[in-house]
Symmetry: C2
Subunit: 679 residues, 2 copies
């Protein structure tokens, strides 16, 4: 046996020679192989488990004998006895290389393991969280070398983990001495290392500690706050949860909240307090649901639009309400959770807020970009993040443009007569038979259609309570395809539309989607007001997209990605019938789900992604819809619902309503005139 041996690691394929007797963990580090360890090779943490392979490996040109690794040792025996070691596994810090060997690093032993996302555009997140655990043994104090306990801990982190210049806030320093003594100078430290090279102690525990560190990825929307509680070790989402943004009581949309801040002394602070209280409650609730302590949450990553961003940070958003829409700060924000009174998290928890792209295009749009990566796309991709404000990105690897469009909350089921959040009991899918104009629908929480046998029994618990965002979009599109609406969006009378479900309501008509009164439930109608709200919203969305297309000089896009808290639920066909998005082959329209939330999750799990998106955001070209005259033109032009017959052959059969006019909130002449201009 020569003095050194060949070690080949799989799956990385990294190989090299090490002296005989080298522990596998040491060999892995020397060869740059990604093998986890929290205890630094002391046989405590068991994170460095590996699987040796024996026999002939012609591909690698090596024969591995049974004695290629040292004998199973006492540490491994003890570990196996107490906690159990999978068949064939060894502890990398204990097993020594004795001869040529092939060693597999299983996924759970990799620090930078990958998490496969379940979305249509599956892309892996490489785990590289800002906060990790480090076990260290600290030199005991000595009267003849009177450095402070913190300095000796800092030296241990530098020597044992190459973490230089770690910082600690006063509350951490305060706890250090008793913790070190309790652990007899052994301590597990959670260190936050940001993408700018700073290292901070977040928390610590006496001795060896491996309760998983958790993080929150939060999409702070104007209407809803959605949070994912993630395990920072493996990226798993433990619980996803959400709640309504309590700021709604100060105004439904962004501009009404800015107005509230303008008109009321201290109004911005009221809204700041409201959202912070809600976030503390959300953190507690989500931790309870996951069966963990909220103090295990050591980092929270936020994505939000600029107004939410300012209100979260405690900055008056008043400048965002008027040209030139100046942000107080546009770059990413890295602060302590306590700086914004998020007190239910770990007391040392950090907060990272993604950068804003512009005064109207926020960190949520940046997060969508991080998730969908238009800057890496070969073809021209249009990404539409549908919310109270729509964030729109258009581009490819040459150039990316961004804008924001004030769609209002209609797409989220708000300002809709029977509207509600996406929750069990809400109608989420709608079909209307073009022949008899009768509807059928599905509600959240039940896989049956409403005309399937057993539907009533299956939904008895929740009932049919209202209609959510995706439901209203389908309802309006289906109504148009069934000939219940004319191109201008007017609902016909029972006679004109040919359905007794079209019932008069004031001077207009409403379509009865469901009558639950027999079972003590509501009558669910789609009113003329609902249609108008959806028309306004979809026109704004479409106009924003068109504006970016004008800027880039194209009439079509190669593909469309629908995103948003409920983006996964929007039917591409119905979105296109409605005219929410520009025409595009239907198979090129995909759904990315809550891409902003996913972007937040990526930034939470991979600290390097923060540097990446900060760099990209600087390069994205921003288009300000509010001052572009063409936005108004596109908006007005987009009001109609033109697609009763195109681009889908199956829609050809739809009968267009005769051109009639109704009085809607004005004189007949006005309404007629308006409609004609649109026609």
């Amino acid at each position: 046996m020569s003095d050194d041996a060949l070690v080949i690691f799989t799956p990385s394929g990294k190989r090299g020679r090490v002296p005989v007797g080298t522990p596998v963990l040491t060999a892995a580090r020397k060869l740059g192989v990604d093998l986890d360890s929290v205890c630094g090779g002391r046989g405590i943490c068991s994170k460095c488990q590996i699987t040796p392979s024996y026999g002939e490996f012609p591909k690698h040109g090596v024969t591995v004998s049974e004695s290629a690794l040292s004998e199973w040792n006492a540490v491994e025996e003890r570990y196996d006895r107490i906690r159990g070691l999978k068949e064939g596994r060894r502890l990398g810090c204990q097993a020594k290389v004795m001869g040529d060997v092939v060693i597999d690093v299983p996924p759970e032993s990799q620090v930078h393991r990958q998490v496969i996302r379940k979305s249509a555009t599956a892309r892996a997140i490489t785990m590289d969280p800002a906060v990790r655990l480090y076990y260290v043994e600290v030199q005991e104090p000595d009267m003849h070398e009177p450095t402070g306990d913190f300095q000796r801990l800092s030296a241990a982190l530098a020597a044992q983990w190459q973490i230089e210049g770690v910082e600690a806030d006063m509350p951490i320093l305060r706890r250090l001495q008793p913790t070190l003594r309790k652990g007899e100078w052994k301590i597990t430290v959670a260190v936050h290392r940001d993408h700018k090279g700073r290292a901070r102690i977040v928390d610590f525990w006496p001795g060896f500690h491996d309760a998983p560190l958790l993080g929150l990825a939060i999409d702070l929307g104007s209407t809803t706050i959605a949070a994912h509680l993630c395990d920072l070790t493996d990226g798993r989402v433990l619980v996803s949860s959400g709640l309504m943004n309590p700021q709604i009581r100060f105004g439904e949309d962004l501009m009404s909240r800015v107005s509230y801040a303008m008109m009321n002394q201290g109004g911005d602070q009221e809204m700041t307090t409201a959202v912070r209280v809600a976030l503390n409650g959300l953190a507690e609730a989500i931790a309870t649901e996951a069966g963990v302590s909220p103090t295990q949450i050591v980092e929270a990553v936020f994505v939000c639009n600029p107004v939410m961003h300012h209100l979260l940070l405690g900055i008056d958003p008043v400048e965002l309400g008027q040209a030139p829409f100046a942000l107080a700060t546009s770059e990413s924000v890295s602060i302590a959770a306590t700086d914004i009174q998020l007190t239910t998290l770990n007391p040392g928890a950090r907060v990272y807020v993604l950068p804003c792209i512009a005064g109207h295009v926020g960190a949520d749009a940046a997060a969508v970009a991080l998730s969908e990566e238009p800057y890496k796309s070969e073809d021209l991709a249009l990404i539409v993040d549908v919310g109270t404000n729509a964030e729109i990105l258009l581009g490819n690897k040459t150039r990316v443009l961004a804008c924001s469009s004030p769609t209002g909350p209609a797409f989220e089921g708000a300002q809709i007569s029977s509207g509600q959040r996406a929750a069990p009991g809400a109608i989420e899918r709608v079909e209307i038979d073009p022949a008899n104009k009768e509807p059928r629908f599905k509600v959240i929480g039940c896989d049956l259609w409403s005309d399937d046998p057993g539907f009533a029994a299956a939904t008895a618990a929740t009932g049919v309570t209202g209609i959510c965002g995706s439901g209203i979009i389908e309802a309006v599109a289906e109504m148009r395809m069934a000939g219940l609406l004319d191109p201008s969006g007017l609902i016909g009378s029972a006679e004109l539309a040919g359905s007794p479900r079209c019932e008069p309501q004031g001077r207009t008509h409403a379509y009865l989607l469901h009558d639950g009164t027999e079972d003590g439930g509501p009558r669910i109608l789609v009113t003329q007001g609902d249609i108008r709200a959806i028309q306004l919203a979809k026109s704004a969305l479409y106009a924003g997209a068109r504006l970016l297309m004008d800027e880039i000089g194209v009439d079509t896009v190669d593909r469309v990605i629908l995103a948003g808290a409920f983006g996964a639920h929007i039917s591409p066909k119905h979105a296109m019938v409605l005219g929410m998005i520009p025409d595009c082959p239907l198979d090129k329209v995909t759904s990315a789900g809550n891409a902003a939330g996913t972007g937040a999750r990526i930034a939470l799990c991979n600290v390097g992604a923060r540097a990446g998106i900060e760099d990209q955001v600087r390069q994205i070209h921003k288009v300000e819809t509010a001052i572009e005259p063409r936005f108004q033109e596109h908006f007005v032009a987009a009001n109609a619902i033109p697609h009763a017959t195109a681009p889908f052959p199956e829609l050809e059969k739809v009968v267009t309503l005769p051109e009639v006019s109704f009085n809607v909130g004005g004189s007949g002449a006005e309404a007629g005139g308006r409609r004609r201009r649109r026609g």
Copy 2:
């Protein structure tokens, strides 16, 4: 006239050629001349005033014509009209170099001007404070380049002042937008640049602002808190003030406070709160006295012993009460004032705490080192900082040793029967005639001796209220020299000592220094207890010094520097008679006043000095008195007051008391025995 001209600056002597038409300020910057400017050359701040010299300068080899600088311009005329410009002065940013010229930069136009200290060991402080004002003009927001206001301010600081990567906390960010708009995009920013390269915004004001920035240098002692309010522009001390440390109610000395923390749950936090409340009050009082707002205070520098250090920072000092006396943190601390609840200062104010040398040798000793610089001394210097705990430094440029000795508060007038703080009315100087044993004295606030005519009238306002630290030292030494005490420190009876002022008090005697009862004042006595307290204190001090001398292997030192809050007032002769300090030629004993406070002031005024002392502290060799058996030996041996006859010839005449013994807190045999062992 050639295309460029020779410019010679005085007093620096820096010279070089610049293109004709170059403003003097630009020339100064190019040549590395220290010429101040807050407004960056916009003719607003007037800090860059210079004085050109005309005529022949053989020394410089140059002739300066009357047209060497450009004509007086409109900006200068306006400034002169409104605020007045001294005869011969020009504004450096307005006057342009037109020909060869000699330009003087007056002291008040230098950024790094020097402040001459008034102490015996006069040493200049070069002004280079951490916080300075910078006037900038910020680019207005633009919808087509949607960076945040903070990013544009940051860019302006980088472009106009070479301050890169400035940081701002949330409360600062919150105020930025309205301030920028109020100042029409002109803003004066107070930036804190620390010695580690970080730049932080402390405060800002719309437009041009030049109210001076102030700082506090605080010597936080166990017994007293002394603070200097300094102008950070020129280093002037506006007001010095002090108060008793309110923690005294938890224990007179350090160890009793540590015990309080050990014995009482939350006791450390009580003491932390007490001192922080007192500091807030002190900052307000000192600002009121100076006629300024406490919010002008943008930085506070603290020096203190390790226990005060931990209690200030909110860290339980319990580990400092037992071997190995481990500090929680030994390095310097740079934090926000609000991190330690100093809320009366500017909300953005910073705090810097000097590093500790060891568990018993604190930041106060580091400050004494910074002030007295033993590490630059050619000869062997002993520096004794007298307080409740004495900090002792011994060394020269080869090596410096440090220790701390628990003297107790007697030297500060505490635990003395008629003791009081140094304040008007306190006896600070004492002489006793060896012939008739009659005393005379001086009180603080009056230049007359008590036997001078007019003394009673001059002190009528304050009366004679007690005896301060320097007074009690002189009183005890004088009593010894007058033969009122024997070498063991016993006060003789009226008969033995030969003075009717020696009156019985219990089983011992007391010496009547002053009887103020006729004027309604107190009788001021020096009691046997007072003598014992002083003996304990001086023995501890002496033993510490001897320990360091042993360590370095010397029997004598070249010079002694007495420091301390009242160090300036200690008479070297009396200190040596008492045996407080090792023998040394009397002319080699100097007083440095409150050297710890001076060190704090240096660190406050010169940010570079912080890096310097941090480096020195790492190199100082620490000696731990508490575990050195020889400390006890020296302590016991130092109890006597041997110097009634030596080393000063004028003391030869003093008669030694006959060897008698008294019962002092024990049996006669014991006291006698003890005394004999000491004899």
